[in-house]
């Protein structure tokens, strides 16, 4: 018994800065929005308002109010701005739950390094926090957006990443290597008007857009188109469902295809004193549409179609890589392949890796895509049913 008491007392000495904190004394930051304006940096905490979420059984509670609130302050530095927001909040802001950082365009142009610095030092910020870019003033766009399909705005962001609709870039991705540190792609969130977008008819709805190239922590032109973003996702092995159409190999017309997932293998090889990054996307696609005369029962035609899909894929990947390579931003951190496989040569070029990458590194794409399922009809619906009947 005495031993037990002593050991329990010893426990008390181990506490340190350890203290309990009730859930309702904390504000859980769900999204951190960072913008730059003329006065400095504006930090916005997106916080679920649990008071308004409380189940409506308690009489007198203000139910039916906003469920997600944004608190923002401007200050010359990121830290000061965060401190100011905390000063406005009645509860302690807990950033440990935060999984999303949204930055505005101007902030990204001037450099996202303050965020990376903060994340590198603050143990409460997760290294796998997702980063997004808003092409405009992020706080205004996000705050005025209506969220209809989910409970909170942040759930949308999480779902985009989870379902691989958007490119996923985390803080860690910017810190993967020294030679290409601060390089990466930032997925763009679009806010569309009521004619097109995620929820037609609502004032401002959220959707995914292209991606911005970040070099040494700063946004550089150009911005990738959605198609190019998909190719980039594919290179990062993040591409999920992808619908696309291909010109029919037999005759004028289109064949609609659907790829469930793309598996990409990347390696580096040395050919004739030059380094080649070989990207090998392999995938199986399903045919979902056919308005040409192509007959899926004919093996040669299918083979031709597969070839043209490969070509399409090669082209898309190569175009995307070309655009990215032009900027000199090694967003996929190919330097790590080099470092591991050719450490001797790496040492020679690591100081001017970005230039080498931009000017000399060859990128070969070798797609291997097969048609797995051709559908129940071998020919197009039109030629099999409608034109067939007309012939009778």
């Amino acid at each position: 018994m005495r031993k037990l008491t002593i050991s329990l007392l010893l426990l008390m000495m181990l506490t340190g800065c350890w203290s309990s904190e009730e859930l309702n004394d904390q504000a859980f930051i769900g999204v951190l929005i960072i913008d730059r304006n003329d006065d400095g940096i504006e930090v916005t905490f997106g916080v679920p308002l649990t008071t308004n979420l409380a189940s409506g059984e308690t009489s007198g509670s203000a139910s039916g109010g906003e469920v997600f609130g944004y608190f923002s302050r401007t200050a010359p530095t990121l830290e000061e701005a965060m401190q100011k927001v905390q000063g406005d909040l009645s509860r302690r802001a807990n950033i440990g739950q935060n999984r999303n950082i949204v930055v505005g365009r101007r902030f990204a142009e001037e450099g996202i390094t303050p965020v990376l610095e903060l994340a590198a030092r603050n143990p409460n910020i997760r290294m796998n926090t997702n980063m997004f870019l808003v092409d405009g003033y992020a706080k205004d766009e996000v705050a005025k957006a209506t969220v209809t399909s989910e409970r909170f705005f942040i759930s949308l962001l999480n779902k985009y990443v989870e379902h691989r609709t958007a490119l996923q870039t985390t803080i860690k991705d910017f810190m993967l290597s020294k030679a290409s540190g601060g390089d990466g792609l930032l997925p763009i969130i679009n806010f569309s008007d009521n004619t097109e977008g995620a929820m037609v008819g609502k004032s401002s709805t959220v959707g995914t857009g292209g991606a911005a190239i970040i070099k040494k922590g700063k946004l550089v032109e150009p911005i990738l188109t959605p198609d190019q973003t998909s190719a980039a996702q594919s290179i990062r092995n993040q591409l999920g469902n992808y619908f696309f159409s291909i010109e029919s190999p037999t005759e004028n017309g289109w064949i609609g295809l659907y790829s469930t997932s793309v598996d990409v293998k990347t390696k580096i090889v040395k050919k004739e004193n030059k380094y080649h990054i070989v990207i090998k996307p392999t995938s199986e696609v399903e045919a979902i549409g056919n308005n040409s005369t192509m007959n899926f029962a004919i093996y040669e035609d299918v083979k031709k179609l597969e070839d043209s899909i490969d070509q399409f894929s090669d082209q898309l990947h190569a175009d995307t890589m070309h655009v990215i390579q032009q900027t000199g931003a090694d967003v996929f951190h190919f330097d790590r392949y080099m470092m591991v496989k050719y450490p001797q040569d790496w040492r020679k070029i690591k100081d001017h890796w970005r230039e080498y990458y931009r000017d000399q590194l060859a990128i070969d794409i070798d797609s291997d895509i097969r048609i797995r399922r051709k559908g129940s009809t071998v020919r197009s619906f039109k030629s099999q049913f409608i034109e067939h009947n007309e012939g009778d």
Binding site: L4, S7, L11, L14, T15, W18, S20, E21, E22, L23, N24, Q26, F28, G30, P48, T50, T51, L53, A54, S55, E57, T58, S61, N94, G96, Q97, R99, N124, R151, F152, I154, S155, N158
Partner: protein, 549 residues
């Protein structure tokens, strides 16, 4: 320190020596010796009366009995005379003695005969044993005769004969054997022990019809003279275990033994531990299987609960149902039981820990739900959990005590107050209600009630630790409990056998319920010398069939 160790060692050696001595002497002799000594000391003053009591004269002896049984309403002194002129007295307690049997088998033959000489009568009764009564015996000490009367036997005194006949017609009302009320099973036998030890032993004997099933009888309680029976299988049960049990119960000297728990607490290794180190059951099939595994059962008169020793924490996690069900299902259910053991033990403290210390661990959407449910609750999570857990314990305790007729009302009120009203009033959060009810259900999944109870009680200190140190506190608490359980022993068997110390063969019955045809050996901790339970290849017919094919 060294001196202390030395002393300890010396003490241990002494104890061992004592052990050996005790084993050499017959335990029974020792017990009777002790009783005799005490009686002598107490009855010094009565010695004179004793001498009167053992005299062959009838009148002073009768006087002695009447004096002793003064103001005892139910005692009957039936005086009669056998021809020619032998006066006799039959003494018994009405209500405990079958007088009809005595009339038919004793009074009728005696009164129907004529004995001319006194020797004729004594020969008839004592030498030739001609009464149509089995188990007939005699005593010549009046104190023994008195004890026999109090146990429900009849005593027959004769003029001019110091020996007294004991008629074995003790007969009193007992409860009939009913279905086990607390340990119900679906497929197994329904019988449960009752209060009468004779019936209980017969329930065991009916299951194990072997002369090797030994039932040693002792009497404890200065006033209650309660019969206590040790039941074990000779040759399967370790001798050292039997000696140890005998040695421990021999220290019991109390005015009354009214239940087996008195014996349990006296002989248990560490009575202050939250884990009880002796198993108890009300099912004769459980006792029989334990005896066959090499354990000792202790049955106490007037208690429908038998004690089993040694025991381990894992045997308390086994239900007799496991051995009657299909072994696949039984194994799956066993895992559910282990899972809920931890839930009953840790869920509230885990909730407190992560909601007050490690909110980062909760997925965001769950966190928002929990946080918004807690929004209206004015108490910290620890206090909230304590309020709920304690009121649940109160409800449970009340439902045991409440008379059946109003039990329903109370349970409705309890459910309403704890379940609905408290949440609606914003006193506790709905999440806490869920946690407390899951925990409550979980604690009753543990087959052994006392193990469930000990885990339920250890939950409270763990909750405190969780509320002050978070998961770190839980880890520390678990560590302490684990080391404590590691230290425990039940009659020389480590409490966590066969996990720590690990034993692969016995572990067969811990993580899974092995099919009967694979349980070829008894658990090693109870019967290390005689482990063969059944012939290997219990399913030999299958092999034979395959060979033929």
């Amino acid at each position: 320190m060294k001196q202390e160790e030395k002393e300890k060692r010396e003490k241990l050696v002494q104890l061992e020596q004592q052990n050996e001595q005790m084993q050499q002497q017959s335990q029974l002799e020792q017990l009777t010796q002790r009783e005799q000594q005490e009686q002598q000391m107490k009855q010094d003053a009565m010695e004179q009366q004793e001498s009167i009591a053992s005299s062959p004269e009838l009148a002073p002896r009768l006087e002695w009995f009447k004096l002793r049984l003064e103001r005892v309403a139910e005692v009957v002194f039936h005086e009669f005379t056998v021809d020619y002129g032998h006066s006799c007295v039959l003494i018994y307690m009405s209500g405990m003695f079958d007088i009809k049997q005595a009339e038919r088998n004793l009074l009728e033959p005696l009164l129907g005969k004529v004995f001319y000489m006194k020797d004729e009568l004594t020969q008839y009764l004592f030498s030739r044993n001609q009464l149509p009564v089995t188990e007939l015996h005699w005593v010549d000490r009046a104190a023994d005769a008195l004890q026999a009367i109090l146990q429900g036997y009849g005593i027959l005194l004769f003029q001019g004969e110091p020996r007294m006949l004991v008629l074995p017609y003790a007969n009193y009302e007992t409860r009939s054997i009913v279905e086990a009320p607390n340990e119900t099973v679906l497929r197994g036998p329904r019988e449960a022990f009752i209060e009468d030890i004779g019936v209980n032993i017969s329930l065991l004997r009916r299951r194990i019809k072997s002369p090797l099933l030994k039932t040693e009888e002792y009497t404890f309680g200065r006033h209650t003279s309660t019969r206590v029976v040790l039941a074990y299988m000779e040759g399967i049960c370790k001798d050292s275990l039997i000696h140890e049990v005998r040695r421990r119960i021999s220290y019991l000297d109390i005015d009354g033994v009214l239940s087996s728990s008195q014996i349990e607490e006296t002989i248990t290794d560490r009575p202050s531990s939250p884990f009880t180190q002796i198993q108890y059951t009300e099912r004769p099939d459980v006792v029989s299987s334990s005896i066959l595994e090499g354990r000792v059962a202790i049955l106490v008169d007037n208690t429908p609960i038998a004690l089993l020793a040694p025991t381990t924490i894992f045997s308390k996690m086994q239900s007799s149902e496991d051995y009657y069900q299909n072994f696949v299902a039984a194994t799956a259910i066993r895992y559910i039981r282990y899972l809920f053991l931890f839930i009953s033990f840790l869920l509230p403290s885990f909730y407190i820990a992560i909601s007050t210390f490690h909110a980062e661990m909760i997925p965001f959407r769950l966190l928002v739900t929990v946080a918004s449910a807690r929004e209206v609750v004015p108490f910290p999570a620890l206090l909230e959990a304590f309020i709920m857990e304690i009121s649940f314990e109160a409800l449970r305790e009340a439902s045991v005590r409440i008379p059946k007729s109003i039990g329903q009302t109370v349970s409705i009120i309890g459910a309403l107050i704890i379940g609905t009203a408290a949440v609606q009033a914003g006193i506790v959060s709905a999440a806490m209600v869920i946690i407390v009810s899951v925990t409550g259900i979980a604690s009753f999944i543990i087959p052994s009630f006392d193990l469930g109870l000990s885990f339920r009680l250890m939950r409270f200190p763990l909750m405190l630790l969780a509320g002050t140190f978070g998961i770190f506190g839980i880890a520390c608490g678990m560590f302490l409990i684990y080391t404590h359980a590691l230290n425990l022993e039940s009659f020389g068997v480590p409490y966590l056998t066969p996990m720590a110390p690990s034993n692969r063969d016995s572990a067969k019955d811990v993580w899974m319920r092995a099919p009967w045809w694979r349980m070829n050996e008894r658990p090693s901790f109870a019967a290390p010398n005689n482990r063969n339970r059944q012939k290997k290849q219990a399913r030999g017919w299958k092999l034979e069939q395959e060979e033929l094919e």
